[in-house]
């Protein structure tokens, strides 16, 4: 078990810099999720912690010790890859035992540890099979098993669930969370799925184009996004952004207002702070998503209770919200202090 510290990490491939200085402090036993859109540099960051990618500048410390020049095998980490990267010519047992065998762990202890991991992951019946004889979910478990038998100081996960179907993904997500709680191993988990990030993370790091836009507990990030990017990326359906120029009677300096769909209400046209017509409504049972086209503005989504009447298409309505629910952003996308 260990702390992990990233200090002003930069990475360039040739002349292109893809990570522009990232700082993250990870406490012992903490579950950190790095989330961001495709290509923002999540995997690159994780691979630098693993030692699979050189660090262009900055410092990575594991357990307080600088590891920039340390080989992956000497960093006391385990990694679960997106495609699982199981050894195709070895049985499930040998896959899990590989790291221990190399370390020269006594045979009896290897068997005990692998059996224990197989027990936790319900892999008992499959120990003698080859990876190609397993389902996607089972392979994923083997990859997890390979990581946990070694009892490393840090777990690294690179989108471990993205090859699974939706139902299995939810199930494995819960299992990973439970496992990490039980083992208490510091974990760094990369995903592009914000739901995964919200449910797994003790703290999450929202990455945007090689920069960590915000680091914080999921609900804090949700309630208090630091940038328009974070506000728009976290939450589904995403936050609505309304230019103050659209709001008649706005007297303060112009800015962009961000309001979550659940904080908007439908009112009659004259009562609304902005108005528009319904483009379509999606009744989902428990809730209804109403999509609007505002007069000379972008579209806006309102989330209302499923019990409320569903407006018809083309209906003109107003939209209102409480001012304490609005977040203000500058034109450049930075959060402004609440007035």
């Amino acid at each position: 078990m260990a702390t992990v510290t990233l200090e002003n990490i930069r990475k360039s491939f040739g002349k292109t810099e893809v990570i522009h200085g990232v700082d993250i402090d990870i406490a012992d036993g903490e579950f950190i999720v790095i989330v961001g859109p495709s290509g923002c540099g999540k995997s690159t960051l994780l691979r630098m912690v693993a030692g699979l990618e050189t660090i262009t500048s900055g410092e990575v410390r594991i357990g307080g010790k600088r590891v920039n020049e340390v080989e992956p095998m000497d960093r006391d980490i385990a990694m679960v890859f997106q495609n699982y990267a199981l050894y195709p010519h070895m049985s499930v047992f040998d896959n899990m035992a590989y790291g221990l065998k190399i370390k020269g762990t006594p045979k009896s202890e290897i068997v005990a540890r692998v059996d224990a991991a197989a027990e936790i992951l319900q892999l008992g019946p499959y120990l003698q099979r080859k990876p190609r004889q397993l389902s996607g979910g089972q392979r994923q478990r083997v990859a997890m098993g390979r990581a946990i038998v070694r009892k490393p100081a840090v777990f690294l996960f690179d989108e471990p669930l993205s090859n699974l179907d939706a139902k299995l993904r939810v199930q494995m997500r819960l299992e990973i969370k439970a496992l990490q709680r039980e083992l208490g191993v510091t974990s760094l988990y990369v995903t592009h799925d914000q739901v995964e990030a919200m449910t797994l993370a003790d703290r999450m790091v929202v990455m945007n184009d090689g920069v960590a836009d915000q680091i914080g507990a999921p609900l804090d990030v949700y309630a208090n996004p630091a940038t328009i990017f974070v506000a728009g990326f976290i939450g589904s359906p995403p936050m609505n952004f309304i230019d103050t120029k659209q709001i008649s009677g706005w007297t303060e300096p112009p800015c962009v207002l961000g309001v979550r769909p659940e904080h908007l209400h439908l009112v009659s046209e004259p009562e609304g702070r902005i108005s528009g017509s319904v483009t379509y409504a999606e009744p989902l049972g428990a809730e209804t998503l109403v999509h609007f086209r505002t007069t000379d503005g972008p579209s806006v989504t309102v989330r209302q209770d499923g019990a409320e009447p569903v407006p018809s298409e083309g209906e003109r309505l107003g939209i209102a919200w409480k001012t304490d629910k609005e977040l203000r952003f500058s034109e450049e996308g930075q959060r402004l202090a609440d007035s």
Partner: protein, 293 residues
Amino acid sequence: MEKRVTFRGIWLPILLVLPQIVITAVFFFYPAGKAIWQSLFIPDPFGLSMQYVGLGNFEYLLTDPYYRGAFATTAIFSGLVTLVSMGCALFLAVLADRLIKGSGTYRTLLIWPYAVAPAVAGVLWLFMFNTRVGVVTWYLGQLGYDWNHVLNPHEAMGLVVIASSWGRVSYNFLFFLAGLQAIPRSVVEAAAIDGARFWTRFRTIVFPLLSPTTFFLLVVNIVYAFFETFGVIHTITSGGPQQATTILVYKVYSDGFVGQDLGSSAAQSVILLILVSILTVIQFRYIERRVHY
């Protein structure tokens, strides 16, 4: 899904495969049939008449110490050629696989030797190791080693092995490199994180995953060493000294065309035919089925 073109008539498909069949018939079935026929006879020295001897030629061959000697020589020779050419190729391929910059140039240079015809390669090596004017011989002489492959059977064998392996390294290199690049990077990375250093990774992950390629090359190289090295041996040693480099295919030539013993030569061809058939069967059974992990 396999896509197949279907023809309505029978004549067009026949017409299309005809050239291949004709070539196979003229250059393979006819000579093979003739060799099998001839192996049952002993012609008189002037080629005027033939005497039927049944399997007599084969019986004689199998008890002939010289023929057995050629068998042993072939085994040693093809074993060494396969080992040297595959070993060097694998080593270079592993280096090239790790190389990111300049790998294109490196690859191109490594492929060149393959374009050199075996007989030409033989002559090149012969020049370098010539006992009187060879560069290598001179340097070896400076080091106090007296190289003479014309008299020393081991040196002769060494020289033909090197000359035969040299061009072959390119061919094997290409296959090994393709094989190495087909191994998922993440599997090797996972092994590195699991604690395996370079050599352990190579031994436990890379080499086993490369085994289909290795097996394929093993068969192909043995076939090469058996048959296609004729030009090299002919130019460098002509099978000498004292038959030390007379491999089976060279003996077919020297007994048949030099010694004019056509019956025995034909019988030797038939034995080679059987050997190559066995190798081909092995290759198809194991490689086409892709036995591995």
